[in-house]
């Protein structure tokens, strides 16, 4: 990473992917999976900012993912024939989700670690109920039948642009005064408070920003698969998100990226039909892995880098 300037590396990677995409050397299935990996990285980086960097344990990440997806999709669906709606709806997904997270965060982030977890879990369940009943507000939301008719806007450029933007934003945040404040807050909130850091404001900001990332990921997801269903945003998905962050290592950007890539490729790699009983064992290995990790290596497989 350090040998070539990162700017060149980013450009080079983009060009390679672009060539592979346009020449169809990567078939549409692999293209879809690569975009999906990008989306998952954005989504999990958001949680890493909230939990890994600032120590606020949130189980609402799937809910924010869904809010971003539904917010963006309803706009592009209602105004299908204007390209101006793309930046507008992206804006709405990012800031809308961020604003909701901010408003939720103000009261909820006063809570201590495990209480915060439960409160955000409750929020995730409430959001799912809202999605199920959303067709009562606007029939276009589709409610429990799922939302159809979303245009397919997600492509390599948009996904790549946001992925790089999110990584950049996070890196610069962490290496700034703000990031150091977050670190202090994560290690000892009371001390940080006494030192004169406005911990509450910092926490809420990190929470809102990390949730905005989930919102953007949601927008990209909605316009890649062009179909939304409330069951995609159940609170169990938040646990998936958490698993990726923990496996990659709390507070490690590269760790999260690698873990997300490995995670998706494992799922897709296992698409070869194994006997169903083997697939079931997978869900027994995951939690065991999680327990052992927590006891032996709570800093993640890759640890801090």
């Amino acid at each position: 990473m350090k040998k070539i300037p990162s700017f060149l590396f980013i450009l080079l990677l983009y060009l390679i992917l672009k060539i592979l995409f346009t020449t169809n050397l990567l078939n549409p299935y692999l293209q879809q999976i690569i975009l999906y990996v990008g989306i998952i990285i954005i989504w999990t980086l958001g949680l890493n900012l909230i939990y890994g960097f600032s120590g606020q344990f949130s189980l609402g990440q799937a809910g924010f993912y869904g809010i971003g997806a539904y917010l963006g999709a309803i706009l592009t669906k209602l105004f299908p024939h204007s390209l101006a709606i793309i930046p507008l709806s992206l804006f709405a997904s990012f800031f809308g989700t961020g604003l909701i997270a901010f408003l939720i965060g103000i009261p909820v982030l006063r809570l201590r670690s495990d209480y915060l977890a439960i409160a955000t879990l409750g929020f995730g369940i409430i959001v799912k109920v809202l999605f199920d009943n959303a067709d009562a507000i606007l029939p276009q939301f589709g409610g429990s039948r799922g939302m159809l008719g979303i245009p397919k806007y997600t492509n390599l450029e948009i996904t790549y642009l946001f992925l790089i933007a999110v990584i950049f934003l996070m890196r610069n945040l962490i290496n700034s005064k703000y990031g150091r404040a977050l670190l202090a807050l994560k290690n000892d909130e009371i001390t940080a408070d006494v030192m004169g850091i406005n911990t509450f404001w910092y926490k809420t900001f990190a929470f809102a920003l990390g949730s905005s990332f989930a919102g953007i990921a949601g927008w990209l997801y909605a316009h890649l698969y062009t179909f939304l269903h409330p069951s995609n945003f159940e609170f169990l998905k938040s646990i998936d998100c958490l698993l990726i962050v923990i496996l990659g290592g709390m507070g490690s950007i590269t760790g999260t990226i690698l873990a997300a890539i490995i995670w998706i490729f494992l799922i897709e790699g296992l698409r070869v039909i194994l006997p169903a009983s083997l697939v079931e064992w997978r869900f027994i290995i995951y939690p065991l892995l999680l327990i052992i990790m927590m006891i032996k290596r709570p800093q993640g497989i890759l640890g801090k880098r």
Partner: protein, 294 residues
């Protein structure tokens, strides 16, 4: 009017099953400050033990309860020893994540074909269901049975916690772990005992739940577990009578929501209530303020 009373009875029945689960949450939290996420799954396993005892081995009902209680108590203690004890001084969140891991493990392990299997099972009814009419109100034998069992268990718990040595030790540990250890209380044993006691209550909850709502499956513990936790928070976490009152409120509230609004919003209302309580009165109805120690 009779419609409202009928619905209240429905709510109290649901609430008393929640109470049995909420008690385990509250006792464990009071002692080790852990939200034992896997508690709902112990409740599930209790229901399955009851199912096999009643259906396969044809054990008479009075013996089924102690059997399920013993098995679940052992399970609860084992989980504590293997998964939670190594993390006793770790950050609280790591404990919570471990508990989630244990919960997922129990769910998926139970759904394996050679354990319980993934399908829904119909719960056996160990006695005939008869309806008793009291001037427009209908109470059936299941409801009465649930009330009796829950009430007698609460009495038993009251005696254990407030009238025995071990109960006194439990209260001491929950008040101040370090000092209790200095006073010669074996803290590890007390924690283990608390897990066992909570799990045994959850096991009874599982059997009653199976009898009242006669269908079980490996993932049945998730929602009741979460709802019971909400109930424990309502009443004030760590407080025994609070858990019971919170659970009854919760059950009645859910049923009334279904009866007068719409059951679609039931979960949303339950969890909104949780968030409101956590924000405005995190100590619950009966709780007292705790200062954070530096």
């Amino acid at each position: 009017m009779s419609y409202l009373c009928q619905q209240l009875i429905n709510g109290l029945q649901l609430g008393s099953v929640y109470a049995l689960i909420a008690l385990g949450y509250t006792m464990v939290y009071g002692i080790v400050r852990l939200i034992n996420f896997a508690h709902g799954d112990i409740f599930m396993i209790g229901a399955y033990v009851g199912y096999f005892a009643l259906n396969v081995y044809k054990i008479p009902l009075p013996f089924v309860f102690p059997l399920a209680m013993a098995i679940c108590a052992l399970l609860g203690m084992t989980i504590e020893k293997l998964a939670y004890k190594p993390l006793r001084n770790a950050p609280r969140i790591n404990l919570l994540i471990t508990a989630m891991g244990v919960s997922l493990f129990l769910e998926y392990f139970s759904s394996l074909k050679f354990i319980f299997g993934p399908n829904f099972l119909a719960y056996p009814r160990p006695f005939r269901v008869t309806n008793i009419c009291l001037g427009g109100l209908m109470i059936n034998s299941v409801t009465i049975f649930v009330f009796l069992i829950v009430f007698s268990l609460l009495l038993l718990l009251e005696i254990i916690v407030y009238r025995t040595k071990i109960g006194m030790a439990m209260r001491a540990v929950s008040y101040d772990k370090e000092t209790s250890a200095l006073m010669g209380i074996n803290v590890d044993n007390i924690i283990s005992f608390t897990f066992g006691l909570g799990s045994a209550l959850a096991a009874v909850g599982g059997i009653l739940y199976g009898i009242a709502y006669p269908q079980i499956h490996p993932f049945m513990g998730i929602m009741p577990g979460l709802k019971a936790f909400v109930a424990a928070v309502l009443g004030g976490i760590g407080i025994i009578k609070g858990a019971v009152v919170g659970a009854l409120i919760m059950g009645v509230l859910e049923v009334l929501t279904s009866a007068y609004l719409s059951s679609t919003w039931r979960d949303a209302i339950a969890f909104s209530l949780l968030i409101l309580f956590l924000i405005f009165k995190p100590t619950g109805i009966f709780g007292k303020e705790e200062m954070e120690k530096v």
